[in-house]
Symmetry: C2
Subunit: 284 residues, 2 copies
């Protein structure tokens, strides 16, 4: 997906949040925002992918602010919250409900301005509704015949819902070899391979790095090892907006995008109302 | 007032609104926002005044979009609304209430995202409350002894409340010569000299132009004629945030700023809670 017109202002608003998360000092924040004003034009053009080029800009801002993880405390809080919510829910027997909860878990996403305290209530409500586009039957049918699944996670916190979904899939499709990929290092509130290990993913899957800190899965920045894995797996589940932004142009039918359309560009791209939950196959 | 860190993202968000007001075509909007991304760094530095340098950026965007008044329709609607509200209110006898209504009228300000339909209700509520900083007694005492008043208006719509206030002042201080200044041409939803004439200001005051389209009253861009007037008047009433931004650094005790602190930078600068109504003298 290429940038839509709203992506420029959104990137600047996110940069402001990064500055606010990094320092209480308004003088430093002002220097950071003037740095963004100077740099912005270098990062965006007609063909920019918002997650990739926004992410590159944010990493430069991290360097400018000398802070390699401004969202550390926020991620800790959202991790605690998600762990509590998942633990309270107990076992979810239905595979489709587990899928919907994994999508709903995507709303623990501070980068686009959500309050995590509303998360539990909203997730249960969301998971009780219908998906606006629902290719989950196709996904489950592909998984019946698949030998391998690559699961691309999105944010911290949310990964506890992913783990619940993956555990259910492993019970349903016992022959499936599952790889779970996260970022090489911290960027906004995205989960890293370290976060996956802390959440016990080693016990249920093979944890891999995309080879990059950038949001989503921009293949041009991925490691050769990740690329080989990506090419040979049978099914890919890609969580969240950034994975959609970076992989949708492949039109790859192996990929199923699971996300909540939180912003206008994503909902315009998918042709769904803002706020919709979707499980959409890559060829569409 | 120099820019605060939030002013960069606010300028980009306002640029997006300008693009949205100018065209329905998302391709054109994207070109406009990419133009902003390229230009942004040229317009802002540590010493930028937000209204002035933001305004310069917006005028370049107007040129890029080949639209010299994207807010034309919006201004027409807010003018109609304000005219109705003022007409419904009838005569306001109390000078202080008229002053507070002139400040409250400032919330017909689409440029920072307000819905005009809530305006009537909110303005009456606001005018019934206290000013957070209230130098109105000093203002009225200065006007007792003054021969001339320069009244710097802010937005369309709002000027109907200004007219009501000016009419009350003329009754209270009959010897006062009143000049009312507006922009030379359209910028966002600011009132122009043409808007003043349409609102009948010619009948109650001498209408003058600042000599510039830029928001507020940036003296470095004003006409020589306006500068001479500005220097010789006894009292200045400056409405709205942009007039505060462009004139506050003068620390001129002739100026009284009447505004609602709608954003964090203005409220931080004044040391008042966001949303406060103030009548604050220039020397403070």
């Amino acid at each position: 997906m290429k940038i839509h017109y709203e992506c420029i202002a959104c990137a600047v608003n996110q940069a402001q949040k990064i500055a606010e998360m990094s320092t209480e000092d308004v003088v430093q924040r002002k220097k950071a925002m003037l740095f963004i004003a100077k740099k912005l034009g270098e990062f965006f053009n007609e063909d920019s992918v918002p997650a990739t080029d926004g992410g590159r800009l944010f990493l430069e801002l991290y360097e400018f602010l000398r802070n390699d993880d401004p969202f550390e405390e926020y991620k800790r809080l959202s991790t605690e919250l998600a762990r509590d919510v998942v633990s309270d829910m107990g076992r979810v027997n239905d595979l489709k409900t587990a899928l919907k909860l994994a999508i709903a878990g995507n709303l623990i996403d501070f980068a686009v301005g959500y309050d995590p305290r509303k998360a539990e209530e909203d997730m249960l409500r969301l998971a009780s509704g219908e998906l606006y586009i629902d290719h989950s039957n196709e996904l489950f049918s592909e998984l019946e015949n698949a030998r391998s699944l690559l699961y691309l996670v999105d944010n911290c916190g949310e990964i506890y819902f992913d783990r619940m979904f993956i555990e259910r899939m492993r019970e349903e499709f016992p022959g499936l070899k599952v790889y779970v990929a996260a970022k090489e290092g911290p960027i906004i509130n995205d989960a890293t391979v370290e976060d996956l290990r802390e959440a016990g993913f080693d016990e249920i899957a093979e944890v891999v790095s995309t080879g990059s800190k950038l949001p989503g899965t921009p293949l041009e920045y991925a490691s050769p090892g990740f690329l080989r894995l990506f090419e040979r797996v049978d099914v890919v589940i890609a969580k969240g907006q950034a994975n959609f932004e970076t992989l949708s142009d492949l039109k790859d039918p192996r990929i199923f995008f699971l996300l909540k359309a939180k912003c206008t560009p994503i909902s315009r791209e998918l042709g769904v109302p803002k706020g919709s939950l979707v499980c959409v196959r890559g060829r569409y």
